[in-house]
């Protein structure tokens, strides 16, 4: 399938998207350890702003949504509403063991066991909590996915991968 050549403005927008992803963090029931690791990312030791990664308060300004923790039944509708406000193309990182499988809370009465029942997840960041460099790796994996999606003209080419999880380690880190 031949895709039409991109206009200059579209190439400029794509370049800016890859160079400076804006992320928003949503705590859907975490114990705050994941949130503290994200704060550690922003602090001078890691300082993800030097790579152009900005944490924004509003989902309407964001490209990447980081979900920390398992999704409780009460937060499920709120998380869905936040996800729906993010403009396309949007990417979702489920953070920590709780994001992958509800962790120690798996099977409890107030938990959605899978984040994917609420919003589609692109990258899982492993760890309890993930270290700041693993969070950065997850964001960069999202950017590599974004580049591939731009080349393929959408997210549809990844549909056959549904069921298999895309791990952050599968992608080569090109920026750091």
């Amino acid at each position: 399938m031949a895709t039409p050549p991109e206009s200059f403005s579209q190439r400029l927008v794509n370049w800016a998207r890859v160079k400076s992803p804006w992320i928003t963090v949503f705590n859907s029931g975490a114990c705050n350890a994941c949130d503290i690791e994200i704060i550690a990312c922003l602090m001078p030791r890691f300082d993800i702003e030097r790579f152009g990664i900005l944490v924004k308060a509003s989902p309407r300004h964001a490209d990447i949504l980081i979900i920390t923790g398992h999704v409780t039944l009460k937060q499920a509708s709120r998380l869905r509403r936040v996800w729906e406000q993010i403009p396309e193309p949007k990417y979702v990182i489920a953070m920590g063991a709780c994001g992958a499988s509800a962790g120690a809370f798996h099977g409890l009465y107030h938990i959605m066991d899978r984040v994917e029942d609420v919003v589609p997840v692109d990258v899982y960041a492993a760890g309890c909590p993930p270290r700041p460099d693993e969070i950065m790796n997850a964001v960069i994996t999202c950017l590599n996915l974004l580049k591939e999606d731009l080349a393929h003209g959408g997210k549809e080419w990844r549909q056959h991968l549904s069921g298999t999880k895309i791990e952050p380690d599968e992608q080569k880190d090109e920026r750091i």
């Binding site: 409780t72 039944l73 009460k74 499920a76 509708s77 869905r80 009465y109 107030h110 959605m112 994917e116 029942d117 609420v118 919003v119 589609p120």
Partner: protein
């Protein structure tokens, strides 16, 4: 700094409400009945000198529900007022008029145990999701998750 409460002092003031015992150092427990609990807590806040509600703990004993109101004050002694209410008719008087912070704890207990606090100004859901089935109380010992019940949270057509 004031000295810790003496057991004899509390026993003299509270003996009309029930048994008073020193559970361990700096912890005094008053076991009373649901009918007396309002006046007992009034006295704990008055002559005993407690000024702060720490928490209301609830326990499912199988046949009864135990409610324990824990108070603390400048004397640094935790004073607990314990009552037991029957499981068939779980109703007890609300403390929210006497102690406004108790209202939030009572909403949470009502949510998770189904205990009705009479006279509470707004006994609504506080912690479970809004579409949780109204007659299920997840922290009761005999509660089991029913696979046929929709517990809310996620809607058809998502993802």
């Amino acid at each position: 700094m004031t000295s810790p409460l003496a057991l004899d002092f509390v026993m003299e003031k509270m003996k009309e409400y029930g048994t008073v015992e020193q559970v361990r150092q700096n912890r005094i427990r008053i076991t009373t009945t649901p009918g007396n609990v309002f006046n007992a807590i009034k006295d704990v806040l008055g002559p005993i000198g407690c000024d702060r509600l720490v928490t209301i703990s609830t326990v499912d004993n199988g046949t009864t529900f135990g409610l324990i109101y824990n108070f603390i004050g400048p004397h640094r002694t935790v004073v607990s007022v314990a009552i037991e209410i029957p499981r068939e008719n779980p109703e007890v008087m609300s403390m929210s008029g006497l102690l406004p912070p108790a209202g939030i704890y009572e909403r949470q207990i009502h949510d998770l145990f189904g205990i009705v606090f009479l006279g509470h100004p707004g006994l609504k859901r506080i912690i479970l999701n809004e579409d949780w089935p109204p007659d299920e109380f997840p922290l009761r010992k005999d509660w089991k998750k029913n696979p046929d019940t929709n517990y809310g949270g996620v809607k058809e057509g998502w993802s």
